[in-house]
Symmetry: C2
Subunit: 595 residues, 2 copies
């Protein structure tokens, strides 16, 4: 109904003006990422997203996946040829290492590309995302021989990948993992147990599936320090690389979910027929460390899904608001105008666009930091950016997924009754989005990570460093004649600093109260960072306009977008800060028996 | 999985302590509503909701409705016997006039009853709600003969009812209505046109369906002042009351919706076979006035759906949080405890309960005002309460439906991955809830009504009167030793007053800017009113505790709930007020071409 339009103009603006593409292209190992090459990659990725993936999205939702006889799983029509085309074009390995068949492009480039795929078809895109995550895990932890056997097939997408963490009693708490691995005489292991919520745990899009499984060795210590990582393929692989016997892993059910129907969510049973054959990856009992390295990437990727679904829903709502004629212009009294003329509808669209751009700018900027952390020759510079990435990863995941849901929700509101009807397609994005604040760690888990591991553990050092940078940015806005933006941002930073002080002062003695404010604090930090990024965008837009470059309507729109953000989301900062400080007392006193 | 528990304790507390049940039972015409009778009615309604309606809810969602051959519509299994039982018990006419077979109980009594039905099974409950609305319309506008013919069957539920307003080009804007009615020689009319989004537009739960249809007479003026109201029955009625020929109205499709699957949403075609026979209700061209009277009631009822779904989702989340064991207590380090021990999970539950209680107290209090407005012998008292009802109706509808959605959303978050899986049932409430901010006027429509008709048109007189009452309530909190509640509420009222001043100062010259802040203003007023009501609840709870009456754990919980509300939602008031004042400028300047 409203075709997906790759938002290349916004992407290019952010990459060039805000996320430092030119600087990153000068880093060792990133030389391929010239503006020309990147422009071509984004255009081509956008064509693929809009032309191949997006047209399958609705049918994927309607058809969903089906569990067939013998534990086979059918994916929606069209998934197979699209996936073949995806792999043939080399998209899967875009940012994976060249030595295993990838293209080694920086994260700053793969991030907008991932955004487009997710916007076009999130349920489909989860399949290659799994390969990318698994490739990263194998790269970190696998032996040279394991890498030779598995990595090229995973990087090319010839074989599918899964991550097997969750069990019925072990969701957020992996310490409760029960799946066990028994060592065999030949150096392999036999695995026994059940894993749930395994995305693409079974399908026939690829001839083989490589399951990466968290399990316990017989002598493993209790808790998370007793978890080891295993490769358990669907089909065993012969020494010549051909596929051998079917392994003892079966899909016993698939979930009936609210969204992402095109992505089969499987319960996998390992070892019912005598033991699923697997191989240990990395050192015994250190599986979770590998998972944690990967998890940062995976969480970032889910944050990108937030921006992606928000963009898609925004485009649909804008398309509808420009076409649907209803009511009279409240100011002029004119009839026959589309509903975008109504101030409240324009407010919703502007609010969506402001949040999409804030998320996108923050995510791309963080992707750039990631590249600097990995490639910058100056260790101090690299370290600073690594610390920024670590600090803000829970925000990239938690805040962007929460906002992604909010924007999809608002898009339905623009459609009115038509939004509640599945036919228009906007409801699907709302339903799909509902998982992203949950998987790869709920917003609450992200917020606890932010407050506990990222702030309290280091006494707030990196956050203090960031706040100095935020203040400088607010000052620059005022100096450039954008005083109301600078003032608004200054007030928001004050709120952030006061809440930070309170957390640091009370984190030891009043941990319960502090954690009660963790999610509001995550929203606070996200709100301030979003304002920071849109402030930077406004400065850049104004400078380009003054230099006579670019489309002045677009550039002035960026400035007004930043002002609108500061007028609507900016004041939330102080409210969140008050909640951080004040909610824990009543929460602690409230007797659970009074619920 | 988690059975619905009628929240009778909370309901009784609010009715007795806050909504003035005793006073209302002394009003002329309300004498039946003694505390004993009401207690029995609520218990019995709760039993029916939990025992009959709630068990059908999930199956209704899963089966949905089907369009059969010949335009017939099948409703879910179990709907038929439940509806028969519902009507036989006389539930439908609970608050309808005694002279037409109703029980004439005050709205203060029917409101908690409606809440329970909606919480148990919203899709089912929409059917009797339609009868209640139609009965009200006929009572206001129908002739004595029409009342004799139709009202008893509508009030008993023997025949179903529908409201036919929306057309493809006429959604929020009824001025665009095209369905036409041609006068016939015998005094009847023939109707031609198509109506969409007609809830229970076709089904076989009742032998006849009475459609109330908005249409234009041949000589009607353009716009909303040219709309007339017609009765168009599915089967014509013979003079002896028996059913005659099938009328020329057909269901041509039903919508595939995101939620309320058990409620068939129909497209009805009138007059394809030569004209659907109908009768004019009330005066020509004044149909919308009748609709508007009804609409206030209908909007209030949708607000109640917000509280109802929120309560249901809260109960499920609480049940899950008390059972699900995961992780360690962050403060004590204890393992094996349910997730309710985690501060962030407790925060979510407390936030849900606080919002449910704020909504419920506001709605019941408003229901009491409604009864006073209708029955109080002192015209000045009646008038004051009528004005309060009118002022706050957009808040009761808009704010409670928005909060209802938020609470259902948060319930999914408590369930984590299990919330995204349809099996647990919490996803259904989230999907069902998504329509309530849309139908009977979107939140934007409510907010425009609030700012335009309810505030600007009378220069803010009633709102100023309400603010005086709010201030007195804040003062009373401080005087009773609940100073932090009084101070918080005082600050929130300051914010409300500043935003009100701004709207009144700018409404004439800057209407676009003012309307851009209408929804934030609605949230602001709702937030303040919710705090007001919970403040009253805290005062009452404290007084009862001091008097040694009631369960002290419950009563102290009410006080902490009010404090928690003030710490989490209270600070939003100032943020909303800032947005009301500041967002319109950037919104007005933003060029639509820059979207």
């Amino acid at each position: 109904m409203y075709d997906y339009q790759p938002p290349l103009r916004d992407m290019q603006f952010i990459l060039a003006e805000l996320a430092g593409l030119d600087d990153i292209a000068r880093l060792p190992g990133c030389e391929e990422a010239s503006a020309d090459v990147i422009g071509a990659v984004l255009e081509e990725a956008g064509r693929f997203a809009a032309g191949v993936l997006a047209p399958l999205n609705r049918a994927g939702d309607e058809q969903g996946c089906r569990l067939l006889e013998g534990g086979r799983v059918a994916t929606p029509e069209g998934w197979q040829p699209a996936y073949a085309q995806f792999c043939a074009a080399g998209w899967l390995g875009l940012s994976l290492p060249v030595e295993f068949g990838g293209q080694g492009l920086p994260k700053l480039v793969s991030t907008p590309v991932m955004e487009m795929w997710n916007a076009a078809n999130m349920a489909f895109t989860m399949l290659p995302i799994l390969n990318q995550g698994q490739a990263e895990a194998l790269r970190i932890a696998a032996s040279a021989e394991q890498k030779r056997t598995w990595l090229p097939k995973v990087v090319s997408g010839e074989w599918g990948s899964t991550m097997n963490l969750t069990e019925p009693q072990a969701g957020s708490d992996l310490a409760a993992t029960r799946t066990r691995a028994e060592p065999q005489a030949d150096g392999s292991y036999k695995l026994f147990g059940q894993k749930i919520f395994i995305s693409y745990g079974e399908h026939e899009l690829t001839p083989n599936i490589v399951h990466l499984v968290l399990a316990r060795l017989p002598d493993a210590p209790a808790g998370v320090k007793g978890l080891s990582l295993f490769i358990v393929p669907k089909f065993l692989v012969e020494p010549d690389g051909s596929l051998g016997a079917r392994n003892d892993v079966r899909c016993i059910s698939i979930e009936h979910k609210m969204g992402i129907h095109g992505s089969p969510t499987c319960t996998l049973s390992f070892g019912e027929g005598g033991g699923a054959i697997g191989w240990l990856v990395g050192e015994p009992n250190r599986g979770l460390e590998v998972m944690f390295v990967m998890m940062n990437e995976a969480r970032f990727g889910v944050g990108v899904q937030g921006a992606a679904l928000a963009e898609r829903a925004y485009q649909m709502a804008l398309g509808y608001a420009r076409e649907r004629v209803q009511g009279r212009d409240a100011v002029s009294g004119a009839a026959g105008r589309p509903i975008l003329c109504h101030p409240d509808v324009k407010r919703m669209l502007l609010s969506m666009r402001a949040r999409v751009m804030a998320m996108r700018t923050l995510l791309y900027t963080a992707a750039g930091w990631f590249d600097i952390a990995h490639h910058h020759p100056d260790a101090a510079v690299a370290d600073k950016h690594r610390r920024y990435v670590d600090l803000l990863m829970p925000v990239a995941k938690g805040w962007c997924t929460e906002l992604g849901n909010d924007v999809c929700d608002e898009a339905i509101q623009v459609f009115g009754g038509m939004g509640f009807v599945e036919e228009t397609g906007v409801a699907q994005h709302f339903r799909d989005a509902r998982i992203i604040t949950i998987y790869e760690g709920t917003t609450g888990i992200q917020a606890n990570d932010l407050v506990g591991r990222k702030i309290l553990r280091e006494g707030g050092a990196t956050l203090r460093e960031l706040i100095v940078e935020l203040r400088a940015s607010a000052t620059a806005l005022s100096a450039a004649g954008l005083a109301e933006l600078g003032d608004g941002q200054g007030a928001a930073i004050d709120a952030l600093e006061s809440a930070t002080d309170w957390i640091l002062a009370n984190g030891r003695e009043q941990l319960g109260e502090v954690l009660a404010g963790a999610v509001p604090f995550l929203h606070l930090l996200g709100t301030v960072c979003g304002g920071w990024q849109l402030g930077r965008a406004a400065l850049a837009a104004r400078a380009r306009h003054a230099a006579g470059e670019g489309d002045p309507v677009y550039l002035d729109g960026i400035v007004e977008l930043a002002r609108f953000y500061m007028a609507t989301l900016g004041p939330q900062a102080a409210a969140h800060a008050a909640t951080v400080r004040e909610a824990g007392g009543a929460l602690t006193r409230f007797d659970e028996a009074a619920f």
